[in-house]
Each structure stands twice: as structure tokens, then as C-alpha cells.
Symmetry: C2
Subunit: 267 residues, 2 copies
Amino acid sequence: MPDLTTAFRQTGWVKRFGWYLCTFFLSLCSQSCTTKETPPSTDNSPSDFLYQYSIINALLAGVFDGNLTFGEVKKHGDFGVGTFNRVDGELVINQGKMYRIRSNGTVSEVSDRDSTSLAFVKFFKADSSFTIQTAGMTLDQVQKKIAAALPVNEIYAIRLKGQFSKMTTRAPAPAQKPYPTLNDHLARTQVIFNLTNTTGVAVGFLIPTYMEKVNVPGFHFHYLSDDLKSGGHVYDFTVTQITVEIDRTKGYYVELNTNADFGKVTL
Amino acid sequence: MPDLTTAFRQTGWVKRFGWYLCTFFLSLCSQSCTTKETPPSTDNSPSDFLYQYSIINALLAGVFDGNLTFGEVKKHGDFGVGTFNRVDGELVINQGKMYRIRSNGTVSEVSDRDSTSLAFVKFFKADSSFTIQTAGMTLDQVQKKIAAALPVNEIYAIRLKGQFSKMTTRAPAPAQKPYPTLNDHLARTQVIFNLTNTTGVAVGFLIPTYMEKVNVPGFHFHYLSDDLKSGGHVYDFTVTQITVEIDRTKGYYVELNTNADFGKVTL
């Protein structure tokens, strides 16, 4: 996971002057990208908040089942990431469509009747966007560029759309009871996918450190190729050309997992 | 602050069997209290979530001004605690009425036009209640009794209403810019009130440790006497006789402080 603190520290005096300076900073990369800025939305409805079901520490502790259907999830957002009961794959939600990437590499649409043990979603509405045309930029470099342009201590939904010369993802196999911790499960079952010259979308969030234990601090992306043939939790990528869209949230809300396991673990 | 982990550890096997066992445990104290149990609500609207404006770490870091009026706060709850811009007093909201306890000991109604830098509120609807008639029980003992009866890892709004033989509270004086950290400010300005034989209400929350940095882990109460002449942030009390009402939430949501100071501190 990238060091968010380090990435944010680079903002220097930027963070003292706020959102509108983003346009200035983004314009600095005019040789490699083009910028389009939309004023921050004044929407204060739940749709401008990140919604999440359960918390990351519950998943880390082995709470792999939840009681929320994806029919309910999509009432809270048309964009996001997450997983499934038994951690049976990686979730990508984009433009209201929900997909599962399994450890065998297959991509399938998610049924409204399936359930999740962890999901982070939002109704995505970009407040700003720019393109990166510097072929060869890595995930880490893209993240640093984004973080340097944003006010710190806030929560952002981020969509990266375009071509990637390399994309490394993973997906876990479904767990069997009694469930292990997530790290033990991933160490034993996750499958790594090394994609090349792939076109698609990486959806995710930039989360401040004060949300640790509840969400994943730093950047967190899941990928889905446009041909719906590959994807997963993003480990690394190299850009050919992408558009970056950023949706600044007003905050977040957490619905607790009502599965009995949630009350049995130390969180 | 009480050690929530320790308090919860005492629940032993209780936590493996959930909410309905509360009635059994509460009945164990039949000699000193009477119990009334309401099934957990099935309300999944925002009204059954804790709402909070800003986060505790921002206040700790000296972000003492916010942009949310109390006219807005009361749209999110009729019950709760918090503070005011410049930390000018302690907030008690009960049954929709909002009061400020200042460092000079005065109690006044809060104007809808005043603003807050931190508030935790909910629409209070008790899921269970019981009375404590054991004169002499301390805050710590009351907290342990409540925690032992509740499933862990969840968020509860709690109202304690009745007579207290002793009640120790505090309220801070308003801060001047440049703002110090909260602890420095409290060390210099807070005033302690030692009340005796007071009748009133303590409103507050029980917050799980995974919300540290965002809210106050453990129990957190503010007190208001029925005669509206005293109150403040609760440090300690001794019970004469009280009713305990518990409202189990479905989760929480956080609206970020839009004051520029929020982006200037390490959270």
C-alpha cells in the first residue's frame, strides 16, 4: 500500500490554499496531460458521501460473510469496490453495473441477490478531471500526481480510464469455514494476473489515515477491462494514456455488518 | 477515559450470543434495577445512524471552528453532545432541545444560527432500558454494567436520567486565535464543577475502538440538570437512582468540516 502520509506531505504549501489551486497544479502538467475542472459540488445529500458496508478490520479479522445484498448496495452508489461473501472475488462497480472478478480470471455480472461482506461505493460525479499522456507512468507515480493536487484529510472517489501497457491485479479464491484471517487467506489462495496492453477502468478511492481500521488508507483501486475479460484488485500498472476523474466527497457513512461474526472479533 | 477494551472483555461468552441475552443479564441485577426490553429496531434510515460533524482528531489538533449551524445539526438528531466554535462550552441535545454549558457555569439555549466545530447526534429511540437503584454506583461501575450487557463492536447512544448524589463536570472557556491543541487549551482554561444531589440527564455514546481518531472511543457523556442551571462534560458521578436507556445504532456517518483549518493539520 502506498504511503499516503508521504504522498500528502509533498503537497507543501498547496494544502494551505485549498481546492481551487488544483487547477494551477494540474496545469503544470500541461505537457503530459490536459485538465478540466468542475467547481466542487454543493450537493450535501447522501449521494455525495462515500457509503460503506462493514469495515476493513472486520474483513482482515476473518468476517467474510455479510447480510447486505447487492440489490441494496446499488441504492448507495453506482461506483465502487468491495468483495463478496466468502471473499469470492473482487468487486468493480462502474456506471451502475456490478462485476465480479474471480480467482480463475473470469468476469461475471453480479446478481442483486448476491451478498457482500465489504463494499465501498458512491454515486460518482467528477468534480475535476485530467488526462495523463505520459506513457510509462507507474501506479505510484500516478498516485503521487493525484495526491499532490488535492487538499489533504479528505475522501475522494477516483476513476482512471484508458490504456495500460501493464496491469497487475489479483483475486482471491472463496474461503472455507472456519475462516482464516484475510492475510492468511490471500497468502494461500490469491491468484495474480499480469495483463499487458489492456484498455479499461480502475475504480477506487483515496482515503485519509484517520479512517484506518474502517477503510483502506491511501489509494485503493479495482480494475476491469473494457472487454469484460479481466480485472481484479490493482497491485501495479504502467500507463499508456488515461483520463483521471476525481469526485471529492462530503464525508462517509458506515453501515455495520449484522452478521454474528462481527461481534466475535477484535476490531 | 475508561478502558473500553477491558470493559468489553468482561462480557465473556455473552458476546457470542448477541443482543437478546441482554434481557437475561439485565435481569441478574433485579435486586438493584428493573428492566424493560424493546426488540432492536428494524429502522434502516439515516435516523438510526449516529451522525457526526467533523472528527475528534481535528478538535484535538486545534480545529476549533466549523461551518455547520445548529439549525443544520438538529436535522440529523434530537439527542447528542458536542461543542461550539472556539470550543465555547459543552453541548447537550436532549429531546430536540439544545443547550450550551459555558465555563462560567451558565446554561443557555443554543441558537440555530450558532455553529459547531464538532457534534455527535442521533434521533434517539431506546431499544432497551433499565433502572439502577443502587445508590453509590460510580460512573465507572455504571459503564461496566452497561458494556457487559451489550454486543461488542457496535455503536450505542445512551441516556442516563435521574438523581446523582455527586456529579463532576467541566466546561472550557472559549479559545483565542491562534488556536492551541485541545489538550493545551483545556489544561489552561477548563473549569471543573462539583455538583451534589443533582437531578438531570447525561446524554452520550458508547463508541468502539475502531472509530478512534474519528470519535471518542468508550463512553462519553455530557450532563444537564433538570433545572437548567448546571452541566458539562462528565468526568465522574455517583448514582442515587437513574434510568438507563440504550439506542443501538445501525452505523454512523461523518460530515467533514469544511473550515480551511481542517486541511492544515495532521489527523
